[in-house]
Symmetry: C3
Subunit: 210 residues, 3 copies
Amino acid sequence: MHEQFNFAIEVLGTFSFAMSGSFAAMQKRLDPFGVLIIAFVTAVGGGTVRDLLLDIPVFWMHDLLTCAVIIITSIFSMIFKSLEKNIKVTLFIFDSFGLGLFTIIGIQKGLHADIHPLICIGLGTITGCFGGIIRDILLNRIPLIFRKEIYATACIVGGAIFLLLVNYTTLSYTFVQIFTILLIVAIRTFAVKYQWQIPKFYGHDHSSEM
Amino acid sequence: MHEQFNFAIEVLGTFSFAMSGSFAAMQKRLDPFGVLIIAFVTAVGGGTVRDLLLDIPVFWMHDLLTCAVIIITSIFSMIFKSLEKNIKVTLFIFDSFGLGLFTIIGIQKGLHADIHPLICIGLGTITGCFGGIIRDILLNRIPLIFRKEIYATACIVGGAIFLLLVNYTTLSYTFVQIFTILLIVAIRTFAVKYQWQIPKFYGHDHSSEM
Amino acid sequence: MHEQFNFAIEVLGTFSFAMSGSFAAMQKRLDPFGVLIIAFVTAVGGGTVRDLLLDIPVFWMHDLLTCAVIIITSIFSMIFKSLEKNIKVTLFIFDSFGLGLFTIIGIQKGLHADIHPLICIGLGTITGCFGGIIRDILLNRIPLIFRKEIYATACIVGGAIFLLLVNYTTLSYTFVQIFTILLIVAIRTFAVKYQWQIPKFYGHDHSSEM
């Protein structure tokens, strides 16, 4: 059952990021093949970097299902697009869910490869964020990490709480997974809605700003 | 003979992309070492990502010939530059040949590593396109994939036809290789010349354009 | 003693690049977590690409010390920032030392993996330059390689002299290491101070400039 649950969050994360990538590409007026490629890169980018760092086989190289999910999601997004007005909110929600799902998958794969928990938080953050970063670089958008939003911070906080709950409580593993995924989505959503910002404790220095 | 032919298209692809990278770098007024580095990245970028994904040794790490071809091509381009007026057409032709040659090499390496043919098309597209994408990111140009040109589409179509012809016809392997390479070059050339565009079947949405 | 010296230059290089990344991120007004992430990417980026190319375990995956050095340096930089006026010079000095230290480490790791010395120079250049390139791409700055500065050239020249001195003289290995690291720092510093430029021997072509 545990295996099946992990499989389900992997498919859901792939779906979320493929959706997010497709919409971002359509906003930039790419043609259908361009939309497909951006959907693909957004969905597999973070996990690919994670697998390369861990030196394990890249997950989608022997996995037709992931490819099928991305292709179907991409076509679905293009049809869905003409019915959809409020694309910004949709894009945001799918992006947040993908972020939460992939961060937790990344941490789990790191723990499984005997990596120190602290480094696993970094690995989870990379798995969650890199797909979106590559998407933004390819689409020539302002890199996500540079916008005044809480993004990677949500991964780091959510990942740390995941490790604490797994190691120091008796809560069920599946419950902790679902809880921390929703926590990451919640942190990001509230942060954007109420314009939370992490205080910059280093001094302002107007002269050096470029 | 088959081995030698594969070797020849690898050298020709390296030459084409090193040429394309050198000219792009010279257009941006980089100094000779900068031109050399961009030539190198353009020529080996796609194949490097392919080899990392397949978890096989990165092809140029033990291959002095590839490095020599890039260095010589790069120096040759800098000398040739002062004689050349119509740089845009030259750049375009070399880029298209590199695209066709590397796409087919990428698919072959994928098949050789027992990857599913559908994923091999993706691998071929990555091998063909990534060098140019990294070049454009480093040179701060508009990413190729974002321009209104048929680029990755040519790789996907050419790759699919390559697989169909190899598996379902009795044509000689070498003939199919040459045919699909020229097909990719032709698709891209005609697409640019006659300004082909793939129809966007998703609706126009002027308000959300950024 | 030799092992310890290599360990010391690795820590010093990590410190230098983490510092350089932190300051660059603060100039762009990122929040503390953003500063930490940019510091991390700048410090480990070049070495990560090197290890992936060599197919050896990525150095920071089992190394808590590197992570600790980056986190402490990053926090230190944020506190230090409010005391510091002339940030550009500080940034430049740390960046130059990181460049020299990592170039030599990269060449050594390549030689250790039986890579041809000529390719090792490329590997050293990648180790030295890639962290800064990824930093600039993420921060949306003009890519370093594109500015009119001598940067990668310093790595190539320093790396070549390192190999010559190690193979054809009887100077102590540690002396050659220190000498070539300082040489790379010196080349870069004098180049910027006196605005050295490598002559472009290819002809000027004003019409094709974009």
